[in-house]
Amino acid sequence: MLCLKALMHPTPPPTPPPHHSHPLRVLVMADCPHTIGVEFGTRIIEVSGQKVKLQIWDTAGQERFRAVTRSYYRGAAGALMVYDITRRSTYNHLSSWLTDARNLTNPNTVIFLIGNKADLEAQRDVTYEEAKQFAEENGLLFLEASAKTGDNVEEAFLETAKKIYQNIQDGSLDLNAAESGVQHKPATSQPGRLPNDTQPAKDACSC
């Protein structure tokens, strides 16, 4: 019913802004035809008593926008890769997305795999076990969620925020370095780095 970008809606009630630090940029990669380029949202999550502001960059999953959205990967503290458990085609994008995410973000960027539409058990096309295994092999966090019912949505963001926070605490993720590295480095997307996954995106997402 809804793409994950809808995870931001209905939005939580306005919360006072966190009293410290940069917002953490979290990419959402979802195969949703409605997004042109990138859309933004914010979410404030409380992690161990600290309010953390997530700045959500909801990137278009459509193939034709992939070139654009790749420009936005750098500097991201976390990435949510969203597929639709009722459509295997969306699951098949994952490896190329993962390649992008790995290549274009900080090595310690938290990557979270999310199977959306967990409420549509009857139409399931991708089993939990299969996705779980993929996540484990690639060191991803994994959850099945439903944007429609809101199941596990908050958890996904919370887990992401926690993990990012943890990485920052133990020093493995230096956001400042990542941030400053972003803006001054010349572009990294060089010719020849074409997506492995050239299959046309099916805009079958029912949102």
Binding site: T11, P18, G41, Q55, Q183, A187, Q190
Partner: protein
Amino acid sequence: MAQPSQEGRQKAEMEENEDAAITWSDETGREEGRLDEDPMNKNVGVGEGEKMVHPANTLEGDAESKIENAAMMEESGEEVQPFAEEEEEDSVVIPTRKRPEHIIPQVEIGDRMKEPLVEDGVQSKAESSGGGWGSSLGSWGMSLISSATATVSSVGHTLSHVVEKAEESLGILSPTELSAEGEETTQATVPTEEAGGPAGSEEDPVVKEEGVEVEGDEKAFSHGGAFGMLGKLGGMTASSITSIVQNTSKTVITGGLDALELIGKKTMDILAEGDPGFKRTKGLIHRTNTLSQVLREAKEKEEQRLAQQDEDSLAAPKAHYGLLFDEFQGLSHLEALEMLSHESDGNLQAVLSSLSGEDLLRVKAELDEIKSAMILEEIDVESDVVEEKDEKEQDLMNIITELLFQVHIGVTPDKLNRARQKADAWLKEVQEDSTPKEAAEGLEKEEVVKPEKKSVQDVHSLCIQSLAEVTARSIEQLHKCGELILHGADPDVSAMQRAASLTRLTVALCKELSVKSEKFASCLSTVGAQEKPEILNPLVTSVFLEASNSTMYIQDGFQLLLPILQLSHLQHSATPLAPT
């Protein structure tokens, strides 16, 4: 594109933003947070300049008015007596009419006496605007004001020197000393005075009183001194006085003019010194390299400040442009646009470095052409599109739509339009509210606006909010243009054409903002008609300040499109140079 659903979502987002905005916004702290790094410090500098010119004006005006008075007196020579009796304050004129030369020293002494006044004026201005200019300028502004004050007072010194010199050459006591015996002397000389005496003695106390009332002790003393001096002069022979006074007056006038010139020069110097605000900001932008970073830092400061304030007191939050701009995702779009722009620039350099010889020259020339197509005309000079219709904003929106269409990337300015309409809606509502006393409220309106009559602060918040929203949407528009120009736009339209259309689009957007800000300001003035100027003026000023900030952001966003357009030019040019 299944636009509707997205729109719905956007709407929700916008509503949420509004809610959030209201809770988070704060006006007073904004300046602290932002002005240090504000790209628009330039403007502040200009504003400052007006302030600093002020003392000079005061002086000049003062001298002029005195001279005018004197001239008037000369003309009305016949009606000496009645006039003198009526115009107590102009009592000084009475002796001077008999001996017109006296006017001059009086004028200058008057000016000198004004010196402390002028300084006071500056200071009190700085103080009284503590809530407005003062705080809105932050510490930087204050330091500028105080340096201006210092300068003025140093100039004041020069002036008093001149006057003192004049007094010395008159061979009389210093005003302070004089003041001690002033009364006595005056009274003593009364009998010997023929015409000026009686008037002088009668009015002396009056003037003194007024001096005390109006300007404080020092002036009163000076007055006393002046009168004492006049009294003494009365005892001398007319001719010797005339010559002395003539010479003196020349010195004083020259000195006075010099002093005025000095004030002018100093003011200019300070203005030039004050301008670094702009330079500094530019430098800052260069250092951090991105506008969004600067803005973000400013916003974070503000948030921290807000947080502290929250703990201190639950002060009613007001409009804070920076926070609102972020709420409307303007910052994110700007940041994303920057990323696109930098990446394009990188790719552009990569392509250029792979070229050589004629190819390189040719490509460079083409790129320069695009660059020169993107030079913004001055915003005041309306582009041909805008000038015919600048009265009708709806048309302006049509122009924007049309220009976007010309850019040929398949974007419509829906969100921008909605932001505009929202602004118009509340403007209208507020105006309706404020004209009849208890106008019927638009109940169905979904805006954040509350049904009760709005205070100036409410209207101000709305103004700032609308400015932030329209600006954020404009940046978003430019960002979307950037994305689509790079990827997925119709390659039939040349980068040159797009550059031209986008340039006009930017001019139109800026124009729109300036029209809006004027409307906001006038609305604010209407609503705040009963408010004190100290309350109203800073609010109006902040609307204009934020409007010019907005314009600046849009223009900066526009400049970020340059490498994007250039890269797209290379991508689509005959030689397949650029990677896609």
